[in-house]
Structure formats: structure tokens, C-alpha cells
Symmetry: C2
Subunit: 243 residues, 2 copies
């Protein structure tokens, strides 16, 4: 953790970067305690508030956690899969909403990634995951469900599918892709007919997973992708020439 150059611009950002580098490079290991804020301020020759701003930056990325009290301080945080999940979801959601990513592009990416899990999920899915999927299908079939609730259940269904691959790295990567799509999906009004169609496909996916038939899962996902994109096209058309 070295000194900064005499470039007195954005001190807190420089300090944050220095500490971040130390963590990424392994100079600071998990659960290791950083020097106290006062000590860091001395080392970097800045004031305590500046150090604090740097630490808050790192805390925002879940790189450190802080604890008050006598034995307190800032500790290198073990980045959990949950933390990584939620960060990824925020980032992906904002990326989609701020960059005018077309529904088609997002949808294509989502299903491409999901199909990557299909074969693995067919091999490894647990009875528990299958039960989750069945339960979500059941919920989706209930009348009076709002579009938002339907989409939320859809997300749960697909997350169970992804988790079925039994690979936490895959699950983490895909959580963002699947959940970030939800705001876009919420813009689609699902008619009773389209819900029925989607539920049919979900059932086919669940059945195929039960039989451990990977290629059937894959084929059904392709159908689901095509149907979803068709629904989105219809919505777009309705907006172009409203009644």
C-alpha cells in the first residue's frame, strides 16, 4: 500500500484505488484488519474525512466491512455470492434502463445464457429445485395475478432452472441477466391466452428436467424465446398505432 503521487486531485479516489489494489493483489487477505482511520490518514498524509470517503467507496463495493468499538475497524470482506449477485443485478438493471438496450437484444442475451445452463441443469437438478419450479408454475396459473407478480414468479422459475446447473459461478452470472430483464418484461401485458402458452412451455421445461432430457429443455427454451419476442413485437405494434 504505497504513497500517492503528488497529484493532489481526487485524493479519496486514489486512496481507495491503492487499498483496492492491495486487496486484489492479495497483499491484504480476507478478514485482515486495515489500519485505523487515523493511522491511514497519517500514512497517506491526508485528513480523516478523506480516508473515510475512500473507505466508503470500498464499502459500496462490499470490499470491506466496518465494525465499531474497541476492536473495531475496517476489515477485508469475503465477497459472498449474495453480495456479488445484488451488485450484478443493480449494474445490469441500470445498464439496460440507461442505454436503450432493445428488448430483442436483452431477450436474446438472456435466453442464450439460460440455454447454456440447460444441459447441466438436466444432469444435476435436485428434487428440491424441480419442486420450486412446479410451485412457481402453479402460482403463475392462478387467476387474478397481476402482471408484476406473474413476472416475479417467472424470474423465480428461471432462477431455479439456472441454479439447477449446480454451478455457483453460472448462477451468479445469470442472476443479473435474468433479473435485469424483469422491468422490461413488466412492460408486457400478459393476456390470459399468453400466460397459458407460457405456462405450457414452463411445464414442458419442468417435465424435460424431470426426465433429465437436456436437448428437450434447450428446444423448449428456444420456443419460449421466440414466443416472448413475438409478444414484445405485438406490444410494440400496439403502441405504434393505438386504438
Amino acid at each position: 500500500m504505497k504513497i500517492d503521487p503528488q497529484n493532489r486531485a481526487d485524493l479519496s479516489a486514489q486512496i481507495a484505488q491503492a487499498i483496492r489494489d492491495a486487496i486484489v493483489s492479495g497483499d491484504l487477505i480476507v478478514d485482515e484488519r486495515l489500519p485505523s482511520e487515523a493511522e491511514l490518514a497519517d500514512q497517506f498524509e491526508v485528513s480523516r474525512p478523506t480516508v473515510r470517503e475512500a473507505l466508503k467507496r470500498l464499502a459500496a463495493q462490499s470490499l470491506i466491512r466496518t465494525q465499531r468499538g474497541a476492536t473495531g475497524g475496517a476489515f477485508v470482506n469475503r465477497l459472498s455470492f449474495e453480495d456479488a449477485y445484488s451488485q450484478q443485478i443493480t449494474t445490469s438493471t441500470l445498464l439496460l434502463s440507461m442505454n436503450a438496450v432493445s428488448f430483442d437484444t436483452a431477450c436474446e442475451a438472456r435466453f442464450a445464457l439460460e440455454r447454456a445452463c440447460a444441459a447441466l441443469a438436466a444432469q444435476r437438478r435436485t428434487a428440491d429445485q424441480l419442486a420450486t419450479m412446479r410451485a412457481e408454475i402453479h402460482r403463475q396459473a392462478q387467476p387474478g395475478l397481476t402482471d408484476e407478480a406473474f413476472c416475479a414468479s417467472d424470474v423465480n422459475f428461471h432462477r431455479a432452472l439456472v441454479d439447477g446447473a449446480g454451478n455457483p459461478v453460472l448462477s451468479y452470472q445469470l442472476a443479473g441477466a435474468v433479473e435485469a430483464m424483469q422491468p422490461l418484461m413488466n412492460m408486457i401485458t400478459f393476456t390470459a391466452r399468453s400466460r397459458e402458452e407460457i405456462i405450457t412451455l414452463h411445464n414442458r421445461i419442468a417435465d424435460a428436467l424431470e426426465k433429465r432430457d437436456g436437448s428437450e429443455v434447450d428446444a423448449t427454451l428456444v420456443e419460449l424465446e421466440n414466443y416472448t419476442r413475438k409478444l414484445a413485437r405485438d406490444v410494440a405494434q400496439k403502441w405504434r398505432k393505438p386504438a
Copy 2:
């Protein structure tokens, strides 16, 4: 952007969350200027340093940018794909290094995701992307290349493949998976023989992409995955019983 409850714990985190919510929900739109720090301090009834810590948290996630001067202030940032890339790479790298993710798990995830791009890349790859891949293969064949340089070139090759799918969302998602693997890959010492084998497979991938043969790309990626995992197993064995 509402007030916080009387819960006077972690004020800066609460304020950051409130602003974050306002951005995600669309209450604050891209390039909109936030109130000045002094005004925010008034609104939330806290001091300016506390507001600043909150803003630094958001800046760390590239959610806002700040500008000094008369018309300066904090502005809602358009999250660029580049920003999202780099965040994802940091997160993924730390996740892998801190959670004792096995090489096999990471490798499986990486190739599963990459195979998700294969068919699309075969359809859409540009001549430019193909040229990049050929150039990287050429570099990989040069003698005297360090293992690190070989791996770096490998990353470039695969990024070109992923970019070939022509879907920025996919590219962004996979950048993390591919680049985060590099530290793990760097631990493998590539013999001349193994480099040769990998280059052969890379050539086959490039040839298949040139012919726009998606299933050939996919099949070769499977071979590459199996070979990579075999190399890793050999390394592990060497470590178990060293000469």
C-alpha cells in the same frame, strides 16, 4: 427522495440507498443534476460530510459523477458498457479468488457461457473480429512468449469470439467470466506441446467461424474445455507429488 426513518444508524448508507432508489426507479434521470451537497444535507438533516460519504458510495458504483465549479455538482451518470465491464471484472475476480472456487467450476461456467455465443457468433462475426482472432493465434504461436502473455492473448481471442455474437449485453456479461479466469489460468504452465494443441483448437474455431459453422465452433469449444480441464488436473497432480 424521501426522509430516512429515525434510525440514526449508518446514515450515509441510508442516504446512498435513497438516492440509488431514486435513480433506479427513474425519479432521477440520466444527466440530471442532484441538489448541491449543502442542500442535500439540509433535506436529510445531516451534515455535509455525511452526505459526501453517501455520494462517494454512489460514485464508486459509477452511478453519479461529480464536477467542480459554479455549475458543478453531482450528476446522474449514464452507466456505460465499459464501466459495467470493469466493475464486473473486479467483482468476478474477487469472487473467484476469495471463495476457493475450484478451477473446474470456473472453467465449466466460462465455457458454458462461451458456447452460448457460438451459434450467434458464427452467424454474425465480422471480418474484423475474425482478423483479431487470427492475429492472436499468430501471437500465441510465437516462441519465447511468457505464460502470462500467452494467457492474455487467450483472453483477447475469446473476447473477440464473444464480441462476434454482436450482442453487447452478452459481451458485458461474459467479459467478467472470461477475464476473471485469467489469474487461475496463469497458474498453469503451458508446455510447448500444450500450447500447440490449444493453437490447433483455436485455429479450428477460427476456421469454423469463417465458414459460419456454429455447431463446429460449439464442438471445438467442448474439446477445448476438456483439454483445459485435463491440463489443470495434470498441474494439480504434479503439485500433489512433486519430483
